[in-house]
């Protein structure tokens, strides 16, 4: 129902509102769904949100070709079917897919490596949007860059569509250990780290200089990402790193994703410090989606009670899992 507030001083899309939305998802399970029926199964099982897709990651992987934003008709069908938030994916750097999804009214956008990247240089400047974003990461550098760009939520990339949790564990461990490492760094060292993390924004300008036949060196006061100079980005990342050092965690909600296939996988990721879990192919590629969905929701709530995890796992069969080294393409390598 459209509602127009007859009030002064109303603010939409602030950082507080965007990060606040993500905080309401904590302790929950966000499930990939491809139609209205699956969305209802997810909502009935107690999902906190659904991710609307044309195909789950396992099928995207199998189909090959270019994976794009889902058909808005499909997303709308799912939005109409449930009362919980609906998220949808855009290609890395695809500002116009993101604008379209924002116009459609999705509650959060996932700038996702599961789709084929659209921009070889940059992720989206997410501060320019009213809708909040979630982004994947493999390590602290990726996480800090996405947060500086305005992501309201971070998730591990893991390796989507494999039913193999090892990459999600790798990524959350790498992030956690890097956060701990900040404790042992002084301001100067953290500034050096911010400088290292900022280098990936210089890729476009370096390439231009190289193509022009000049020495590929970028100065601190040269604009490298939109109007932001390299120095501005270094200062931005430095501030984020100082806050992370103080909090000893990311300043935004951090979920696990990419290979979570069983209630025990979900409980493991919660034990490792995830605030919640995305389950992609793990539910609707399993033989009994209804039961699997409920079991994963319960395992996330009771992650520190092994009896409950054992109880909900009884008789459940997970999706077929894939060995990472046998994969022809690793989706986690998309993005930087």
């Amino acid at each position: 129902m459209p509602f127009h507030l007859d009030l002064e001083n109303v603010r939409y899309g602030s950082e507080l509102i965007k990060r606040g939305f993500a905080k309401m998802q904590k302790g929950g399970v966000i499930m990939d769904v491809t139609n209205a029926e699956q969305a209802q199964i997810a909502e009935d099982a107690g999902a906190v949100a659904v991710m609307a897709l044309e195909r789950v990651p396992a099928d995207i992987r199998a189909a090959g070709g270019v994976a794009r934003m889902a058909d808005p008709l499909k997303i709308q069908e799912i939005m109409d079917a449930v009362s919980i938030p609906v998220m949808a994916k855009v290609r890395i750097g695809h500002i116009e897919e993101a604008r379209a999804l924002e116009a459609l009214g999705v509650d959060m956008i996932d700038e996702s490596e599961v789709l084929t990247p659209a921009d070889p240089f940059f992720h989206i400047d997410k501060r320019e949007f009213t809708v909040p974003f979630v982004c994947g990461c493999r390590n602290l550098g990726e996480a800090v860059r996405r947060i500086w760009e305005g992501a309201a939520m971070i998730r591990t990339k893991g390796e989507a569509g494999t039913g193999n949790v090892i990459e999600a564990v790798r990524h959350i461990r790498l992030v956690n250990r890097a956060i701990e490492e900040l404790k042992y760094m002084d301001d100067e060292k953290i500034h050096e780290l911010a400088k290292n993390y900022a280098q990936s924004y210089a890729k476009l300008l370096l390439r231009v200089k190289e193509l022009n036949g000049f020495e590929p060196v970028v100065g601190g006061d040269e604009p490298v990402f939109g109007h932001y100079t390299l120095n501005e980005i270094i200062e931005g990342l430095y501030k984020e790193l100082q806050e992370i050092k103080r909090l000893q965690r990311l300043p935004v909600v951090n979920f696990a994703a990419g290979g979570v296939a069983t209630p025990a996988d979900a409980a493991l990721m919660m034990q490792l410090g995830a605030d919640g879990v995305f389950v992609g192919s793990g539910i609707f590629k399993s033989p009994n989606p209804e039961e699997m969905a409920k079991a994963i929701v319960e395992a996330v709530m009771h992650y520190d009670e092994p009896e409950t995890v054992a109880e909900v796992s009884k008789g459940l069969k997970g999706m077929y899992g894939q060995e990472i080294s046998q994969l022809s393409e690793r989706l986690q390598e998309r993005g930087w």
Partner: protein, 193 residues
């Protein structure tokens, strides 16, 4: 004073820190704990139900037996404060929606996702009775459409109700845990200034 924050799902840790800070702010001795098992409810003075997804919290509250235990503890005098999703669970009536089973502790009717989707989430100034101006954050907020019986309206938004109380119970459609203004806890916990 012992305060519990229902820890099934939602922004639980934010509520735990906000309530702890409020106790400190008013110099009240007490502790704030997270409630994820029904046994933990036994000696609480107040229970806070956080923001999150009301469908998820409702389902897991029933499955874990926490739902019945809250009702039993309310009969013994425990006060319950429901914020955002929590306010839906406080209501006698959830308008046009059977996906949530509320605790029915207050004579209010609530409509879910009243303001629209996330892009319609907002911050604004409210006028709260006994407090005055208050900066409030609304995230996919419900609205209190009606309030009857012994229930008292404490704040309005447009033609609707943003906050109400009945005996020791409160329902509010915004997020006091996301801002650092602890005055509102004086109302919740019935503290002197």
């Amino acid at each position: 004073m012992k305060i519990g924050v229902l820890g099934i799902q939602g922004d639980v840790s934010e509520h735990v820190s906000a309530a702890s800070n409020a106790l400190q702010f008013y110099g009240v001795k007490g502790e704030v704990i997270t409630v994820r098992k029904k046994e933990v409810l036994k000696d609480l003075d107040y229970l806070i139900i956080p923001g999150g997804e009301s469908t998820t919290i409702s389902r897991l509250m029933i499955r874990s037996g926490i739902y019945d235990e809250i009702l039993r503890r309310v009969d013994e005098g425990m006060g319950v404060i429901g914020t955002c999703a929590g306010s839906i669970l406080m209501a006698k009536e959830v308008v046009d929606d059977d996906r949530v089973t509320p605790l029915k502790l207050m004579d209010i009717s609530v409509r879910r996702n009243f303001f629209g989707r996330q892009r319609e989430s907002f911050e604004t100034e409210l006028e709260i009775k006994y407090l005055g101006k208050y900066h409030a954050v609304f995230i996919r907020a419900p609205v209190i459409e009606k309030c009857w019986g012994d229930c008292e309206v404490l704040a309005t938004i447009g033609d609707n109700i943003a906050m109400a109380r009945q005996e020791k119970h409160f329902a509010l459609i915004f997020h006091p845990e996301l801002t650092e203004d602890y005055r509102i806890y004086r109302l919740f916990l019935n503290l002197r200034e």
